[in-house]
């Protein structure tokens, strides 16, 4: 009987090993190998120790990429969470069409990122994009801003789009968290004369803390993985100014065909993901 029960979960175990564990191990191994295009033909990839890492660290684009990743992640999380929380608090109010509006807000989150990224690329276009045209006609700028073509604003533009992508997710989860805070607490505080801000500060924020840590850690793991948005908007350019570790790893492996280097950057991402995955599991345990 035990064997028969195992038969139902055996495919999932096999799947876990073949499709997650094995690729993970492959990438870890490749990070320590001199793995190039010729490795595909000869099947030979000599052990290289830490050489891939030394070369990646010395790559002129590396330091900027790390800074970009930190700024992109911090900027995305801060604004996604802030706006998501504001919207969640707003939708706690009781008004007509609340439910319809809330579910329609999810649409941007569910579309393929390549599609919404493409729409944004058209909006941010320097000469005919609607953003520059509107800003120009309002006299907020004197000449078009090359949102995606300038090294000084590309990272900001990419972060802005990623914030837009992440708002619905943050709102939904935080709204769910708010729903579990009993109304009586707010009513009691109001009777005691606490204003809206004090109620938010002393009831909402502390009671929302477990959900907050889940949202932030999940958001962090998700933001580190962002690929589609950056590729469609800027491909990490111009001159690596919007390159993050994920797009850098892709660039090394699939554009420069230095698979060992790409895998080494991938391994750095794994280390970061592991650290935050532990954080997530802790937060999850605390919230349940």
């Amino acid at each position: 009987m035990n064997l028969r029960r195992l038969a139902f979960v055996a495919p999932a175990w096999l799947y876990l090993i073949v499709f997650y564990l094995y690729p993970l191990a492959t990438n870890v191994r490749m990070g320590f190998q001199d793995f190039t295009v010729s490795s595909f033909y000869t099947g030979v990839a000599p052990f290289a120790g830490l050489r891939n890492y030394r070369e990646v660290f010395r790559d002129p684009a590396f330091a900027g990429t790390v800074t970009n990743t930190v700024l992109f992640t911090a900027g995305s999380l801060l604004f996604q969470f802030g706006i998501g929380l504001a919207l969640a608090v707003f939708f706690r109010r009781n008004f007509p069409l609340n439910g319809v509006l809330r579910s329609l807000l999810l649409v941007p989150w569910l579309l393929p990122l390549v599609v919404s990224g493409t729409a944004w690329r058209w909006i941010l276009e320097t000469d005919s994009g609607v953003l520059n045209r509107s800003l120009l006609s309002l006299h907020l700028i004197d000449e078009p801003v090359p949102w995606l073509a300038s090294t000084s604003v590309a990272l900001t533009a990419v972060t802005l789009v990623n914030v837009w992508v992440g708002i619905p997710f943050n709102m939904v989860i935080l709204y769910g968290g708010l729903q579990s805070i009993p109304d009586e607490l707010y009513e009691a505080a109001q009777l005691d004369g606490a204003g809206a801000w004090r109620r938010f500060r002393h009831i909402t924020l502390p009671l929302l803390r477990p959900v907050t840590s889940v949202v932030l850690t999940l958001g962090l793991i998700y933001t580190l993985k962002v690929f589609d948005v950056i590729m469609v908007l800027t491909q990490g350019g111009p001159a690596d100014s919007s390159q993050t570790l994920t797009t850098f790893s892709y660039d090394l492996s699939f554009q420069q065909l230095a698979f060992g280097h790409g895998a080494a950057v991938g391994n750095l991402l794994i280390v970061v993901a592991v650290v935050f995955a532990i954080g997530y599991l802790r937060a999850e345990r605390r919230s349940s």
Binding site: P11, Y22, F95, L111, V115, W122, S128, R133, A273
Partner: protein, 269 residues
Amino acid sequence: MRRALNTAIGVVVLAVMLFPLYWMVNASLLPSTELIKPTPTWLPIHGTLDGYRNALSSQGRHLITSVYIALGTVGVTLLVAVPAAFGLAQLRAPLRRPLLFGLLVAQMIPGIVMANAFYVAANELFLLDTPLALILADSTLCVPFAVLILHAFMGGIPAQIREAAQLDGASALRTLWSVILPVSRNAVITAGLFSFLFAWADFLFAVTLTTRDEAAPITVGIYRFIGAHISDWNSVMATGVIASLPVAALLVVAQRYVAAGITSGSVKD
């Protein structure tokens, strides 16, 4: 009065959030000459369907490829996830926690890491540019989610249902097929729809595991289309709208099933 004001604020927020999508639909209907005029055209009154004609003729093949891949992914995902969820939730198979934990952690592996390894494996197995490679790769985006959602649902099915079937002499497999599956229909449909959605939207695996244009699904089709026809925003946006349609259609259906999945109970006390 205050309630109406709140609705108005909500409508404005929604309009801002959905503006990029409106702007995509707008551009998909406007001729290229309108798109490069110095003042934006806010409504596509003198619209054209040329963009859609171009999109279908150049991207039709990629759309079909995407349908195949998404359907294949749904199949593989359910084939792995349904028995696993049944074994975990109903048969209480040994080592339940490690498997669920493993699936939870597996979702956190950076996609680019998987893509690196899949590329090497697909190359060795001569699977580059085949739908099979993308089906298998895309299923890794879906299996953990599907197992978790089906497990949660099947865990709520009373054990008496299964025991009654087994008393009648049904094997475990038969019980799953003719008793548990019909009861869990909504959860299965939800898991399937989301798998379709994930596979349809995948770009990372699509761009790394296809080298020839004929083999590429729609996400890569759009990506290369912008690269090659950057001035033809009309056709690019029409392609974007077409690529969003299956998702929009599925969502309308899925919403019903998600809601039904939560509220429907199979046994009433």
